[in-house]
């Protein structure tokens, strides 16, 4: 116990081992197997097959996740903004209580709820019809990419809003009052004063949501399992139907690249702002 460095290593060893065995090794293994043929030779054939069979799904995944991420961001700003700048104390309290609920609901349950909500005869259409906004004949099923987006946004917005509202609440309140004092309305304060000051938190929350949504399998399977669908569904299908780990891993590497690109944008931004992540 004389060498403090040794003691330190000993203390972090269990965590390090767990990360290595449960994350780093499987990651490296799956990346390697994406570049390996069934015969064990280095190849790009898995990527060629992935592109040939699933290029539409790759694009579809990107569009869905980017759209959902942007919508989450907008809604989270709206929620956080109202919690920070709202003047009706009761409305603020109700919103604060309500908005976190979806956080505690698993994706698979959210997807199941959404199936009944966005179906042709689901609660959403029935409500719109009973409100006279839609005629029964005009109703369509949203159990396609729109259903996936709605579910993702419903499930992920509270998470982004939680972080963003927290950051907004910890702002120096007088920066908001200073703008108000000079004559800025609340919407303007939100856009020009509040959001720029919490942009780092917002970006982190959106990147985490982006990564989460990229990896969800239950929602696309349950809402819209048919083509075009998301890459996670394709990966599950390659493995379950064909035992084709190579193509599945190639698709996995492509999702890593997508999330990696997003993380890179974030890191570059952090460096430009002077090393502040």
């Amino acid at each position: 116990m004389r060498n403090p460095r040794f003691v330190g290593l000993l203390l972090v060893a269990p965590a390090l081992l767990a990360v290595g065995a449960l994350f780093v090794y499987p990651l490296l293994f799956s990346v390697a197997s994406a570049f390996t043929s069934k015969e064990g030779q280095a190849t790009l054939a898995n990527f060629a097959r992935a592109y040939e069979l699933y290029s539409v799904d790759i694009a579809f995944t990107l569009v869905i996740v980017v759209t959902s991420t942007l919508l989450c961001g907008l809604l989270a700003i709206a929620i956080g903004g109202y919690l920070t700048l709202g003047e009706n104390a009761r409305a603020v309290a109700i919103l604060k209580w309500l908005y976190r609920w979806p956080l505690f609901i698993p994706f698979v349950v959210a997807a199941q709820c959404m199936r009944t909500f966005v179906a042709k005869n689901g609660l959403m259409n029935n409500s719109l019809v009973s409100l006279g906004i839609l005629e029964p004949i005009q109703t369509t099923s949203f159990l396609d990419w729109r259903g996936i987006v709605i579910t993702f946004v419903w499930k992920q917005t509270p998470f982004v809003a939680l972080l963003v509202a927290g950051a907004m609440a910890s702002l120096d309140r007088s920066t908001i009052e200073a703008a108000r004092n000079l004559g800025a309305g609340r919407l303007r304060i939100l856009v020009e004063i509040v959001v720029p000051q919490v942009s780092s938190t917002l970006v982190v929350a959106l990147i985490l949501s982006f990564v989460t949504m990229m990896s969800v399998l239950s929602v696309p399977i349950m809402i819209s399992g048919e083509s075009p669908t998301m890459m996670t569904v394709d990966m599950a299908f390659r493995i379950n139907a064909y035992g084709d780990y190579g193509t599945a891993n190639a698709l996995g590497v492509l999702s890593y690249l997508m999330t990696g690109a997003v993380a890179w944008i974030y890191l570059r931004r952090g460096i430009r702002e002077g090393g502040r992540p």
Partner: protein, 366 residues
């Protein structure tokens, strides 16, 4: 008050059940610099925030040029505030901060740039307009905050302890700079501070607040030399208090502290609140003369005591002198020793006299 730039008429404000302002009335003349002075929790910041619209008024009215603005939101009041924390927007440059109010008023880019340039020059910030405010020093940030408030040419400038985050040395300079600027621009200003000297140096008029009420309003000289109550006397630095007996003698009063002092004769009207048989005298440590304990000087009350403590804060000695069971802090240029017998000589004009037990209460409002 006719022609007042700002009139506060029996304004009350509360945080929950706690009443913070109690029927405060005040009129501020155009171009006047008024300091709201008081200790923590006296309501001075609440009064400023009520004027700016951030604290709702429970009752009473606030009028600007005769127009009732009590119900208007902060963004419609045409005032500009300099915050204690400066409240600069860290994602903007100095010029961005200063020009923001002009952008809100729909000024075009060229005109805004010209005005921002003028502000930067006036506040000696030339060449710093393009810097992010996070890269500026405390003094520079303070000036950007002032520039941001002045750029929109507000009817009333509100200053919420704007100097409290500055180094003592810079603070002295900035006091004079702000005062000079306010004089030059002729703008009406309300300044909140807990620093007595700052209020004295900067303000035309000082409003002393105590527990949500105005204790006294007057020029710096008035509140310093003629405090209206024991609270104001203590707050303005006359912190030594001695209880004296009073005896009528013709049209005057004879005051003394029994065995502990000689007796002096004073005009009856020199005691605020009317004289009973007990009088409370406040005096400043720097207004006394230390001498021999038995030096009976006509017109000077001499308290007989003993030096209990000595320190040298610079320029003069500061002594803790015990008189009977009481303790006074007094200054004197001469070196005395602990244990030495002394007489604290109090010239009549150094005494602020009040009827005992009856604080004369809030002064007549101006």
């Amino acid at each position: 008050m006719a022609g007042a730039a700002l009139e506060i008429d029996r304004v009350e404000a509360a945080y929950g059940a706690v009443k913070v302002l109690k029927a405060v009335s005040l009129a501020v003349r155009p171009g006047e610099f008024v300091a709201l002075l008081g200790s923590s929790g006296c309501g001075k910041t609440t009064l400023l925030r009520a004027i700016s619209g951030f604290v709702p008024v429970a009752s009473g009215r606030i009028l600007v040029d005769g127009r009732d603005i009590s119900g208007l939101p902060p963004d419609k009041r045409d005032m500009a505030m300099v915050f204690q924390s400066y409240a600069l927007w860290p994602h903007m440059t100095a010029a961005g901060n200063i020009g923001y109010g002009l952008k809100l008023r729909g000024w075009d880019r060229a005109r805004t740039a010209e005005r921002v340039g003028q502000m930067l020059a006036m506040l000696k910030l030339d060449g710093l307009g393009g810097r992010m405010v996070t890269q500026l020093s405390g003094g520079q940030r303070q000036r950007v905050a002032l520039g941001r408030a002045l750029a929109v040419d507000p009817r009333i400038l509100l200053l919420d302890e704007p100097l409290s985050n500055l180094d003592a040395r810079i603070r002295e300079d900035v006091r004079h700079e702000i005062k000079a600027l306010q004089n030059k621009l002729g703008i009406t200003a309300i300044h909140v501070t807990h620093d007595r000297e700052e209020a004295m140096v900067m303000a035309d008029r000082i409003v002393i607040l105590d527990a949500g009420e105005i204790a006294q309003v007057g020029s710096p000289e008035e509140v310093y030399n003629r405090p209206a109550s024991t609270f104001v006397a203590s707050f303005m630095g006359a912190g030594n208090v001695v209880r004296l007996t009073a005896r009528r003698d013709g049209d005057g009063l004879v005051l003394g502290a029994g065995q502990l002092s000689n007796e002096i004769r004073v005009p009856a009207e020199s005691v605020a609140g009317g004289a009973g048989d007990q009088v409370v005298a406040h005096f400043r440590g720097e207004a006394v003369r230390l001498g021999a304990p038995d030096a009976g000087d006509r017109g000077m009350l001499v308290l007989k005591g003993r030096v209990a403590q000595a320190s040298y804060p610079g320029g003069h000695w500061r002594y803790g002198v015990t008189v009977g069971s009481q303790h006074f802090m007094v200054d004197d240029p001469r070196r005395l020793h602990v244990g030495e017998s002394v007489g604290i000589g109090l010239p009549l004009d150094s005494l602020h006299l009040f009827a005992a037990g009856a604080d004369s209460g809030p002064a007549e409002r101006v």
